[in-house]
Symmetry: C2
Subunit: 419 residues, 2 copies
């Protein structure tokens, strides 16, 4: 009986676990700091009050409950001792025969960690709820404000970073202010909202073709989003951002600019790239530790094209399943294979009825792209119930122009103490 | 044009606003600290991971958006100056012709406010999420614990207070541990969970008949809940509770014992009862201030029976509508009327298929009572979409024995900082 430890219940870890579920001679322990698997591609919809957290997150324990050989533990891994094959957690030490590390990534503020306070990123349910709180509260504050300059500040939303997440956030704020909130306010005109998407590079969606990129720009502009390219944020605080010599006042700044791999990689003492990703062999193992694998956003795997594979859900899912298969091969005395990513394409959505899709030579945008986006995201969502509810929520929003989860939730749960 | 200020968007305030919506010669400003109206009777289902917060809460602004004469402001009222007819908020001063105060109630720890930290009550979305976090985390901690005494502590849940909320919480934990979680854990048997409902009085559900009360006790016991009556909690900390000379170790303690009215009543300088409720005239106005009314949980209205009306949703809803009607009468030069509560009955639910219902002479329990409970709660829930989603969620849970919102959400949104 071999013991396989998986750290992380994201796309890579969960898919590895499922593929090892109920296999003979294998015992799996999956450890995650959180109790839920999160469908991150839809997280911006929680931040934008369209979906509830529970609709895109499911308990890892429950997803894996019908595999009797899998143990799920919620808790924190302190470090990994590669030489003695041990995982040291806050609740004890575990030995492994194989280890799969899939701890994901978090935001990088490029050395300006203090910016996080004023510009949350979007990686967790908590961050999505915090962004929702900030965006909705900004409209509430603008409504009761008499000073025009203050009102303008509350109605200015800045998104830093023009990748898919930044584009999706900007599009959703544009649509929300134009349609969903327009009728609900008396003292402000939500259409006056300024939404600025700031990208340091020469165009948004740099991983897409130039055509898709300019199509996305046009779609965003139609929703009232100003797209600033070749613009670098040089400072950021609670008053707004500085873009080189310019200062823009904004009450709400969101960060979608850079990522870095989870810190657990730093405890290994192995080679990392500049983003903290662990550099892996073609079979995703570590150079001198063939029984230790790294997958998903935490891995730097570049044997296929020379460039590291992007931090996308399909990469992580394929890597997770690949690792399970390779371990099984080895246990059956077959040689290991190298990982090959099958690129099925990429997509980004802009507002309620536009998207850009690229799959091989096929590149298209507009409404059909948006329908494809909907279909694929529903298809990959975990759990029958979640699929049903998300579909219905979207249908309802589409028809009613309303958003289903417009809750401002405070960070403090204790009874409100008046002074 | 008369200006009516309503403080609080709960059942009383919202119903008053709706009844005043689009009426001639009336301008309404509704002020609430929160942006959402909360359907409190179902809040325990959020705490018990069955529903998402957004399914039982809707933005006040959105509920009232089609009434052009209503302004909604999210923010905090600092105090009310009765003599100059002014409401002083953090964002300016507002004059009123009529004032309706409906600020609700919060928990009372009978002078032991420090107990709140270790025994959250259930009045807000934040508290429900915190209770959900504590209950689900206790199972997770028990799963990874090797020490049997510690495990027992994690699996002991104490609910203080045997009113409807306490009974509903205890029943839901019983059901959750027996059915929903049973399959998901490997190292613990969730059936070993100890759930203790502690009531200081001689029986639970004291507002119900003795028959209903003993029927509820039997139903709870069938779900594995220990019901301790005539038991007073004398101390409480992070290790558990003391009931007179006995100490019970428990990682999770929930508070459903006492309420007190919102503190804003204390700033008025008028007569309050022991629970801080404002003592009102038969028309719900203040003695020397006929243009100021108090409704809902914040009001002490006892002219009808000699006893103050209970803090129930139907009382608040009827009072809200009554006030709107009385103000309209006065504006049409008709005399005011006195408030009369029409008691349509009361109900409490125990677990997934049992309830007790009392309506006049009609008293019944069991499955039929539970169906009535479901029907009435769906009927009164705000918004078509919420009704549909809650119904579907319940149907799904009923068939699958799963709970739809088993998320442990942390209080900290910032990126996890490893040490």
């Amino acid at each position: 009986m071999k013991h396989i430890i998986i750290i992380g219940g994201g796309f890579a870890g969960l898919n590895a676990a499922k593929a090892l579920g109920n296999k003979r001679d294998v015992k799996v322990t999956l450890i995650d700091r959180r109790n839920h698997h999160l469908f991150q591609p839809l997280l911006y919809q929680v931040a934008m009050a369209a979906l509830s957290p529970a609709e895109i997150a499911a308990p890892i324990r429950s997803i894996l409950s019908h595999y009797n050989n899998i143990n799920v533990l919620q808790g924190e891994v302190k470090h990994v001792d590669l030489n003695s094959s041990k995982v040291i957690t806050k609740f004890g030490v575990q030995n492994y025969d194989y280890l799969i590390m899939a701890c994901g990534a978090r935001h990088s503020y490029f050395g300006n960690e203090k910016w996080e306070q004023d510009a949350p990123g979007l990686k967790t349910v908590e961050q999505a709820t915090e962004i929702r709180r900030r965006v909705l509260s900004a409209f509430e504050k603008a409504e009761r404000e008499k000073d025009v300059n203050q009102q303008k500040k509350y109605l200015t939303f800045i998104i830093v970073g023009g990748g898919p997440t930044g584009v999706e956030l900007a599009g959703a704020i544009g649509e929300m202010s134009r349609y969903t909130l327009a009728k609900d306010f008396r003292n402000i005109d939500p259409k006056l909202t300024r939404i600025i998407l700031i990208e340091a590079g020469p165009r948004i969606l740099p991983a897409f073709s130039e055509k898709s990129s300019s199509q996305a720009t046009r779609n965003l502009e139609n929703l009232g989003v100003h797209v600033w390219v070749s613009s670098k944020v040089t400072d950021l605080n609670s008053e707004g951002v500085a873009v080189e010599s310019e200062n823009i006042k904004a009450a709400t700044v969101l960060w979608a600019a850079g990522v870095q791999a989870a810190k657990l990689g730093h405890t290994l003492g192995v080679e990392l790239d500049r983003q903290g990703r662990v550099i892996v062999q073609p079979d995703l193992s570590l150079k001198n530790y063939p029984n230790v694998f790294v997958a998903g956003d935490q891995a730097h795997s570049s044997h296929q094209t020379g460039n590291p594979l992007p931090g996308l859900a399909p990469v992580a899912m394929q890597q997770g399943r690949f690792l399970a298969k390779n371990i099984e091969r080895e246990l059956n005395s077959l040689p290991r294979q190298d990982f090959r990513y099958i690129n099925k394409g990429q997509m980004a959505t802009i507002g309620k009825s536009r998207a850009v899709v690229e799959a091989g030579k096929l590149k298209f945008g507009g409404f059909i792209a948006w329908l494809s986006w909907i279909f694929i995201h529903i298809y990959y969502l975990t759990g029958f119930k979640n699929r049903l509810f998300v579909t219905m929520n979207w249908a309802w929003s589409y028809v009613s122009f309303r958003r289903g989860a417009r809750l401002i939730v405070s960070k403090e749960w204790r009874s409100y103490r008046e002074k």
